[in-house]
């Protein structure tokens, strides 16, 4: 038997490790810190007789500054085993939290972890590695109140100079940058902020895209006015580009001309963009799409499209991941790992900058879902898959949709996605019950 699997069997058989107690009971000051940093405005969290935000669960038992793992912590043991086998790098891939009930002020929590499984070796985009999944269970007294399945990939960093996988066809070169003029700058400012802005004549109200300096309907010079489109539309026409290569694009490439829902009889309103997240053979004229944003760099974000999700779309949420945001949210979640607050150490570890920690991402997912579900929603679970790191200075744009869970529970399942510069930072699902909104 592989020595790694052998070690894993031993840890698994040992069951739950010894408990680690939270430093403080569930308390309002720490909740207030968390709410301030994450920006979740739900009054239920900050009331004197309130409950703790469920996504905060992990914060209550974080080891704190200078703290460490318990000796029999399964992740600690498996990390040592994999380190010594050469799988020295680590990246977290999944974090699935289930909340049995909400916590009240004064409750004292302990957490115990067990090993769920170790799977490998797997070839991944990062290198060969093993997936390690642990389950943490939080107890209030003897009562289990929440669990978290946490999966990491321990991998061998590729040798320097090792051959990288070939770039996909057409990926060579840079995406062509739009020429921005005084007449069109507002549009590109909008896409950068996750808005689709359609020029609107201040005099006759005509909508116009592409925009220009003078209204062709009434002759009034443009005054910078625009309307923010809902981002909903239907495919008016489309192509599937297969040849030749297009700078910065992966082929085949679907490009759609979309009629916005703001269009009306005698008032066409179309915007072109890449249609992503759909197979070329599944695209049809008339299919419903939603606006998406293809961020090229700090200056340029291209309008794009993706198929309209089923269910109800969630209102968008954009987070500016400033250094202050990253540091304050990391500390508010009691995560003292240096890569979340110390730029020098982050750079020394090969990171581009400090980056958003997972506990914060989980909190943001809760906040985003609450933006649709409302202050009375009860969160049952938050299950996320972690993607690209969100570095200081980046922007996190959340999008999602809610559907009835369809299992007779009356709950809703919210699909969430948070995009940063490098791509999807987080994808996942949130289960909530929403009083007065039975699915």
């Amino acid at each position: 038997m592989d020595p790694i699997l052998e070690a894993a069997e031993k840890v698994k058989a040992a069951g739950e490790c010894s408990p680690r107690a939270g430093r403080d009971p569930v308390n309002l000051p720490l909740i207030n810190n968390w709410v301030e940093a994450i920006g979740d405005a739900n009054p239920a969290w900050t009331a004197s007789d309130g409950v703790a935000p469920p996504a905060m669960i992990q914060a209550w038992t974080m080891p704190g500054l200078g703290g460490g793992r318990v000796d029999d912590d399964p992740l600690g043991i498996m990390t040592e085993v994999l380190d010594s086998a050469g799988f020295t790098s680590v990246v977290a891939t999944n974090c699935d939290q289930v909340y049995y009930r909400y916590l009240r002020h004064g409750e004292r929590l302990t957490v115990r972890a067990s090993l769920v499984d170790v799977v490998g070796p797997k070839k991944t985009g990062l290198g060969e590695g093993w997936f390690v999944t642990t389950r943490s269970t939080w107890y209030s007294g003897d009562e289990a109140v929440a669990t978290m399945d946490f999966r990491i990939l321990k991998f061998k960093p590729p040798e320097p100079g090792a051959e990288r996988p070939a770039a996909p066809a057409g990926a060579g070169g840079q995406v062509m940058r739009p020429l921005v003029t005084p007449d069109t700058a507002f549009f590109w400012d909008g896409t950068r902020q996750g808005e689709l802005r359609v020029q609107k004549c201040g005099s006759c109200g005509a909508l116009r895209h592409p925009p220009g300096p003078m209204c062709p309907k009434c002759g009034t010079p443009a005054d910078g006015g625009y309307t923010v489109a809902s981002g909903k539309g239907t495919v008016y026409s489309y192509v599937v580009h297969r040849h030749p290569p297009v700078p910065g694009k992966k082929l085949p490439l679907v490009i759609a001309l979309v009629e916005l829902e703001e269009a009306s009889e005698g008032q066409r309103c179309r915007i072109m963009g890449e249609l992503r997240g759909v197979k070329p053979e599944d695209v049809t004229i008339g299919m419903a799409v939603h606006a998406d944003y293809d961020r090229i760099d700090d200056d340029v974000t291209l309008p794009a499209w993706r198929p309209a999700p089923p269910g109800e779309p969630l209102p968008g949420m954009v987070i500016k991941a400033s250094t202050t945001f990253i540091v304050s949210s990391a500390l508010a979640t009691r995560d003292f790992q240096d890569v979340h607050h110390d730029r020098d150490l982050a750079l020394a570890k090969g990171s581009k900058d400090i980056f958003v920690n997972i506990l914060t991402t989980t909190g943001l997912v809760q906040r985003f879902a609450a933006g649709w579900a409302g202050p009375d929603a009860v969160f049952k679970s938050i299950k996320i898959r972690l993607g690209a790191p969100c570095y200081a200075g980046d922007t996190l744009a959340f999008s999602g949709h809610a559907e009835p869970a369809g299992d007779g529970s009356g709950e809703w399942e919210i699909t969430v996605r948070g995009d940063c510069f490098l791509g999807a930072h987080v994808t996942g699902t949130v289960r909530v019950s929403v009083p007065g909104r039975n699915s």
Binding site: G173, V175, M176, R177, P178, L179, V180, T181, D183, T184, H209, P210, Y236, S237, Y238, V239, V240, H241, R242, H243, P244, P245, V246, P247, K249, L253, I255, L257, R268, R270, M272, G273, E274, P280, I285, I296, V300, L302, P303, A304
Partner: protein, 390 residues
Amino acid sequence: MSNSSRTAAIAGIGATEFSKNSGRSELRLAAEATRSALDDAGLSPSDVDGLVTFTMDSNAEIAVARELGVGDLRFFSQVGYGGGAACGTVHHAALAIAAGAAEVVVCYRALNERSGRRFGQVAVGATAVPTTSGADNAWHYPMGLSTPAATVAMAAQRYMHEYGATSADFGAVAVADRKHAAKNRNAWFYEKPITLSDHQSSRPIVDPLKLLDCCQESDGAVAIVVTSAERARDLRQPAAVIRSSAQGSGPGQFTMTSYYDRDLASLPEMGVVGRDLWQRAGLTPGDIRMGVLYDHFTPYVLMQLEELGFCGRGEAPGFIADGAIELGGRLPLNTHGGQLGEAYIHGMNGIAEAVRQVRGTSVNQVPGDGPVVVTAGTGVPTSGLVLSGA
């Protein structure tokens, strides 16, 4: 109209060989084609007092004039919008002659389009040009819609959706062109006809367009000598009288991407050209013997037939079925092989073929002496001509 002293005519046509690698400069190609057209007309460079080309041509009128040894030029002009300029050069020449501003005007286009800058590849500098064109390109190049085929495919997809046209309908154009090219020794695809199944199995380029929906890329040059019909009568070749010439641009017009304020399954700018051509020539589509319709991509040939009034909107698939646009059909098209079969000289070789049809010297001569129609680039501000014998 042809009796008016102000009427212009095409008196000479000339060309280089059509190849994939000319091995010569574009200026030399321009000079060779221009000289050959003057020889055809029985004129000499000293007779020339006007030159017209495309804004896209890399050879300035004065550079061509220097090579030919032309002295004084009284008229020079460049016509914009890519292949939409083709008939426009002759239109400008005819207007200059009618106005008395010039007597002998040579229109030319020379390009090493296959061995030099290939139009079928992505023009990576297109969004960097600080002009309205550069700004227009911001709405599609960065999103990846960045080749001529892709811009046409967007309209073709909508045309198929609205009218039930199929890829096989587009293929009928390719089959007709290649059938005609197969008999034309000057065509790149001489003796290389294709079947509809060749078209259907050719590789996808930009869905719904396949490789054989796309014209070839070519090196070569064509020149056209325009003078008054009166003077042309005394020259070496039978005159091809310009019964009418026109340019056209439509509402919400862009270059290749007029997507925003119109029905995509249409070519309004060609409608503008067609109405003007018929009205000023005093003709109707029913009077036309054959046509040379710009064919950089097959779908726009169908849409041109509708815009020019040969059939109703959405009826082109039925109109072209059963060999109707092949030699012997009711409206033979592109008897030289078109740009799919002969060469891509930005539409200028099509004007030369229309002149041959008027003279009776085409390798695929359409019987009769009725007028012929020629069009220029589609999807762009464009132009057209109606020619007939004196």
